[in-house]
Symmetry: D2
Amino acid sequence: MNGKRNICVVVASRANYGRIRSLLSALQANSNINLQIVVTASALLYRFGEVIKLIESDGYNVSAKAHVVLEGDTPSAMAKSTGFAIQELTTIFDFLKPDIVLTVADRYETLATAVAASYMNIHVAHTQGGEVTGSIDESVRHAITKLAHFHFVTTELSKKRVIQMGEDPSRVFLTGCPSIDEITNTDLQVTPDLLEKNGGVGATIDLNKPYLLVLQHPVTTEFNLASSQIKETIEALNRIKMPTIWLWPNIDAGSDAISHELRSFRETENPGWLRLHRNFSIQDYARLMKNCACFIGNSSSALREGAYLGTPAINIGSRQFNRERAENVIDSHAISSEIEKLIRIQVSHGPYASNPLFGNGNSGLKIAQILSTVTLGSTQKVFHDL
Amino acid sequence: MNGKRNICVVVASRANYGRIRSLLSALQANSNINLQIVVTASALLYRFGEVIKLIESDGYNVSAKAHVVLEGDTPSAMAKSTGFAIQELTTIFDFLKPDIVLTVADRYETLATAVAASYMNIHVAHTQGGEVTGSIDESVRHAITKLAHFHFVTTELSKKRVIQMGEDPSRVFLTGCPSIDEITNTDLQVTPDLLEKNGGVGATIDLNKPYLLVLQHPVTTEFNLASSQIKETIEALNRIKMPTIWLWPNIDAGSDAISHELRSFRETENPGWLRLHRNFSIQDYARLMKNCACFIGNSSSALREGAYLGTPAINIGSRQFNRERAENVIDSHAISSEIEKLIRIQVSHGPYASNPLFGNGNSGLKIAQILSTVTLGSTQKVFHDL
Amino acid sequence: MNGKRNICVVVASRANYGRIRSLLSALQANSNINLQIVVTASALLYRFGEVIKLIESDGYNVSAKAHVVLEGDTPSAMAKSTGFAIQELTTIFDFLKPDIVLTVADRYETLATAVAASYMNIHVAHTQGGEVTGSIDESVRHAITKLAHFHFVTTELSKKRVIQMGEDPSRVFLTGCPSIDEITNTDLQVTPDLLEKNGGVGATIDLNKPYLLVLQHPVTTEFNLASSQIKETIEALNRIKMPTIWLWPNIDAGSDAISHELRSFRETENPGWLRLHRNFSIQDYARLMKNCACFIGNSSSALREGAYLGTPAINIGSRQFNRERAENVIDSHAISSEIEKLIRIQVSHGPYASNPLFGNGNSGLKIAQILSTVTLGSTQKVFHDL
Amino acid sequence: MNGKRNICVVVASRANYGRIRSLLSALQANSNINLQIVVTASALLYRFGEVIKLIESDGYNVSAKAHVVLEGDTPSAMAKSTGFAIQELTTIFDFLKPDIVLTVADRYETLATAVAASYMNIHVAHTQGGEVTGSIDESVRHAITKLAHFHFVTTELSKKRVIQMGEDPSRVFLTGCPSIDEITNTDLQVTPDLLEKNGGVGATIDLNKPYLLVLQHPVTTEFNLASSQIKETIEALNRIKMPTIWLWPNIDAGSDAISHELRSFRETENPGWLRLHRNFSIQDYARLMKNCACFIGNSSSALREGAYLGTPAINIGSRQFNRERAENVIDSHAISSEIEKLIRIQVSHGPYASNPLFGNGNSGLKIAQILSTVTLGSTQKVFHDL
């Protein structure tokens, strides 16, 4: 197609987009590349903040949309959505004929992307390989590594792990995470209208006074505990009663249970300290993280962007088990008294020093440069014995 | 369920069944285990010899059948079949509620099985991990390893690789391959009615005289070459004109092209030396391998069962790239003159000494024993850094 | 199966269940029948009130659940959900082996049920055939009639239409609608705790004072107007400001747009007159209809149960186009001023006389009786020329 | 799109293509129309003669291909293929954005096409509505009529039936069948190389001497009898031993059973009178029908094209039950002695007079003209009471 290389990036969620946007920008600016963006899964859904609108308002053309989420909040529904995503993405790749498909991190849509492209003899590029966590994401991330041809990793340790798994060292690139690019290029002051322009319901919050930020997802491998786990967090925060901005959880099994608890609590207690949001622009999310008194939950952003921003954070439960982190994060069990105590400690401590563990601001450019020039031969992979 | 452990084995192809049957027998005989057999993919299909009939005539109860093959002979169709298989197997696992799902080797149905069970928080057991090959199977096999909880490997080197990939060494079991059990327990004399009772069309062949055995599959990552590659083999054999028993290829993309070439050749040339078969019973296949003058193609059976049987074999092309093998195998490019020359060499050489590289006859029992007693806790996996 | 006839009823939504429950009761009580209940689509979903919990608390055993809703709020997502439902229901029918599958009314899950059963050579029974409406439901309902073997219709006119379409008159049974059975057998007084025990959020409403009841779904064939249409209704009600109980819409394409408008309105205006509910028990819904000052929207319940209850009702827009109705219903365009005016007229008018147009209270028993005794021969249908 | 109307024709089988090709030609020649061709189902498959190659060699551009056939030869597999076809066609229609989708006759892919387009608010045009047959096709055809907006019927009686079913008489067009156009525009002399250039295996047949033509499909509603039914036909023909050209059956459930019987018979008996073909060009098929001594089987072509060609035909079993036909057809039960006797009668009788029951040669042009000019308003359908 006029000699340009077709690079197809699949964006599947709010989290995906923040970890890939600076790369999209670099790919779009590269004259050797024809950028194709496929938006799928929760990134299309109203319940999850319609990330597609963010993407389009950021000026990107979307080549195709694939609705693949089987509604149901059960592990089985996640499994079936994976299957359906493989089917839909295959059809889309047949239309778009990408030379390389890039997939982000560790979700079921990420796995579906890698499976579809692999069987179609399309080269697969993967970001965030070699990191470890809890949840099913741990298995899935490494399975994707074993399907992928090019690995863009964020830390030295991740690089070591990807190579340990038998990947060709010459195809493992330590580039850092594009999510850090967003932070280094953004004025991180909060503006008075920040909350309002991002929608949301509940309390009016003055961002110039101390506030908390919460994002807690279900843990798929502890699916049945989603409800009781979130109750502990709610209870801790209801004792502290500091103004709190709370994001609805992602779409993993257990999400409805969490949403149900939040909604019940809000209707029953009508808490004056709670404000709920579906989504923020990437920059506004970074601003909120930079300026909050403490971040609470189990989102990887506490560890990742939080390291660079120096955000005091409480990491609850097993979802980020064993993941690399800077000194800004304190682990807590899902027990309200422990969560409460640790929040108070982090609020007292205040901001931490910035730590460039996951990148220092030019990852998108580095990845785009490699994607535009790396040799594309056979898709046959070969195991590298150590 | 009366305290028994539900072990669900998914059988997806002719090759699968031979590599798992002695294990099925051992599981069925184990009073702590409730054996569930799911038959799927080409194992259900007439075009591929209806392996299900073998399974039933061997006395096994089939718990569920899942038709998942999207007919089409293209890489896209394989990808979509994978997606569909995930959906169907999820529904079946919801009905059967297995404690452990066991999946064999490296095919798309194997991957689908592992993905479905993983997202459903069911323990996954996998045989044949850590082996290396060509084709998409190479990537898929290792991706399955990263999803699986228990690994039953066949060689020391495979064990080393599975552990290298970050798996828990205490869950990697060197048991050998159940396919070798079949050989050690079978009288390997051919009987006069062997061919006839297994169906087949074409020449009448006297198995007491020298004959060749051929099984050559498409290589998915070289999908477009399937037709030209098989022509080279046909040409070589048409020069040798020794009585030849030829099995139709498996269902991978490229299979129709191979079948078409075989069918055309047969109709046009009416070769007196060629007999075509869809399937053999496991024992009869072993008998044919044991007694043939040379095995030709790219089936793993040449390397695996062939090692133990000492079968002189020509391994054509990249499909078994880098795979461990004994001295009975000679590699050839897909070039008719080279194939012809090497066949003549192997026929002259005659049988090789038996090599127990892939097992020595009690693998099924060992695996069943472990499956019935291994501790089943959380399905959360943890990466083991070397 | 002990000589009993397997009757499988597929329940797919809130509306379905109310139109079928008295039949379930009669089937369960019939000693010649083995009742199988399959719950699917929105009847499983939290967003739509988890009708499955109602079913289970009513004492029915659910044989299988099928998550089939592809989340997306677009016509394409509805189409794909139909396809997915066919696949899932086929697997379930393979397990359950029903002699007859009964499907209700006109939704995509209803069509999926009829298609799956038809191709599997299972007899299909259908309720509510021959009625006419707007929306895609109009086409779908009649398509189902042409797939079904037994027709349980609710009015003389419906019976005439089903026969006109070429169905065998001896298989068209005028039984009335089981939804009327619910009303005739229920004490229709509201109790003080009725709203609270059914959940809901928003205003506290005294049911002994005049209140309105609203249920307005999207019209799939006018999918892009869902948002503007609901705004007209909101505006009309915001002028009247009578205490109002509002049910969230069903799952058809456009549903998210309606929910979004409702949610926005509530957050922005904080209206003291509005209470939102996901679901009611069947009896409580009948009580609310019986006692409301006016029913507003486009639900068929206004025409159907409303006829028997004498509920003053405003029917907005095209969704019930041409449908039979009693004198209790006044049609309105989707224009706020017209809606407002007509509500005021209906509130002044007060209750209408009861009209047994759609049944008189023993439909469930009649249908169960026929299903248990009707001859089941070949599934081959034959067109009856008039 | 430059003001042209997008007309999308879905071609799903060998039979489809013959009944639609003259329309494709007329649509392509119409300057107000942008023709989109989607090829799907068995029309893509090698086992069924790869009709797609015919389409492309006839000079048509194919806009999209959709592999939708779940291999399996069971009613359940047909049901699931229907579901899968809905999903795939929806994605394709999302890309192609047709104004009208045209679907042919009565197969599951036809139903899938109508369902997908209906839910997407796309106008549906249908050919061959109002005809009656046996098999599941009978139900499916009429269900499609109830989903379709424009009906192109072939006989007065069909027109009457479509209108009886409640369709708008102004949208029912008696155009005849485009398959007759093919015959009237073709030189129907057989050429000496006709058989050879269409492939085929088995006997060499001189078309200038009397020969028989056979095409017998499974009857889905008698799925379990496929094998025994075809044996009767084989037996009858094996007694007559006149040179016979036999086409493999279509893809409906039971097809593998028929193919298996044919293949077994050929291998066992090596009959000198039998030649098997997967496919013929449309013109060559017409030539073979015109010149055969008798046509045997249950294909609709015996009734349809056979009427115009005056082909002596034996119609076996229930598949064409009640269908309109000319005097050239004699019905037979699936009993070898009856089939044999009737073949001898038809061979003695010789050709019948031509009967224009299903069209007289300009149907394609008429349909194209209507499609290019008919008013396209709302997709909402309205039932027309008689």
